[in-house]
Amino acid sequence: MLDLSPDEWIAIRLSLKIAFVATAVALPFGIALAWLLARKNFWGKTLLDGLVHMPLVLPPVVTGYLLLISFGRRGPIGAFLADHFGIVFSFRWTGAALSCGVMGFPLLVRPIRLAIEAIDRKLEDAATTLGADRLWVFLTVTLPLAMPGLIAGMVLCFAKALGEFGATITFVSNIPGETQTISAAIYTLTQVPGGDAAASRLVLVAIAISLAALVVAEWLARRAGTRFHGE
């Protein structure tokens, strides 16, 4: 039954690529923001926190539309990036990765923030007395201790990116081979007569990928956990 057509393979590969790139690019920003929200008090913190969570509560179509008018070819940010760095988002897979990254961002930030908040700061003080400056404390103590949160955040972000539909299709449309992910392909197949068999195949693939991501996450989290408590 899982005799996938070349077009279906393209959609699968594209989905994985977009989800990986979205998660990888979002990660450093997510860590920085999680640290900022966990550790610093500053003017506008509540506003920033709300902004990060917006994609979670806004209709995805609204997020997609906002991306379109700001990161589109004639949007202020999109035009700037295209003119100065040659980075184009509109109707490209990069745009799909951007919208997936934005949609997954709150899911990425939250577990990392909670993990950082849970760290005993006395351990960081101990590292300081042993000669570590703030950057080394962060790299050798804070980040490793926050690893379970990092893994959880990355998996949630990846899963969200893999399944994202509304914002992506609004921002970069549904172009086979460029922006058509598994979700968009399934949607398209349900709109044409005789597309049921292909749609079912992609549905199974989507389930398999999601399960695999969960298993890998569980395994990684266990490893990180036993590193603290086991030998």
Partner: protein, 228 residues
């Protein structure tokens, strides 16, 4: 010249600390009841708490001077600190914990020194373990080794035996006595018996003020007054 000279003032909520003392080296006991400000004082020497006013000098180095706006950050003070709860890094093996200070201070790897300290503290059989698997006594010995291996100019010990039961305390004290030849120490405790075995001079702290300084006879006088 004295080795360590401290003259600091600090307000923390309702508590105010104004302490002044100098030590010539050896093991300086910082003695007093809980809440006398002992930990606050060593935290200021370590650079973890900033005094409101005052001066802290170690040998020829001014670590803190509010008048001259000098405040050497904690990571550049080279002062070892053994905390009450050990504070070993749970994600690192005992060996990596021991090596942490050397790496962060940018010191060359020195296998002989590592072996010597490991030997001194009898922790060779623990090197591959995680801190989570250590007993309280083992944990504190590793914490002492970790602080020594950064080659500190001064070692601060804040109630290093407080979390241990009587038998464990007797197990660790001989190791701490061996350290006297290694490095000058400031040893915080509210336990006079412990201090008598290890201290060479005493600073008695009471409600944020230095009540007395001198040799270990200060301990006897202070405990006698507590009993009276």
């Amino acid at each position: 010249m004295s080795m360590l000279a401290v003259e600091v003032e600090k307000r923390l909520g309702n508590f105010s600390l104004a302490a002044r003392f100098e030590t010539a080296g050896g093991v300086t006991a910082l003695f007093g009841a809980s809440g006398a400000g002992k930990t606050t004082l060593v935290n200021m020497i370590a650079g973890l708490i900033v005094p409101n006013r005052g001066r802290i000098r170690l040998d020829d180095d001014v670590l803190f001077d509010s008048g001259a706006r000098i405040d050497v950050p904690a990571h550049r003070r080279r002062i070892g600190y053994v905390f009450q709860e050990g504070r070993l890094f749970p994600h690192l093996s005992v060996a990596a914990n021991l090596d942490y200070g050397r790496r962060m201070c940018g010191l060359a790897r020195d296998g002989a020194e590592m072996a010597r300290i490991v030997n001194l503290l009898d922790i060779g059989h623990l090197l591959d373990r995680r801190p989570g698997k250590l007993s309280g006594g083992e944990r504190q010995r590793v914490a002492v080794g970790r602080a020594l291996l950064m080659r500190p100019r001064l070692l601060l010990l804040d109630e290093p035996l407080a979390s241990l039961d009587g038998a464990r305390k007797r197990e660790i004290l001989p190791y701490l006595e061996r350290l006297r030849a290694e490095v000058p120490m400031v040893y915080v405790s509210h336990h006079a018996g412990e201090l008598k075995r290890i201290a060479t001079s005493v600073v008695l702290l009471d409600a944020g003020r230095v009540a007395a300084t001198g040799g270990i006879e200060v301990l006897d006088k202070a405990t006698a007054e507590l009993m009276a």
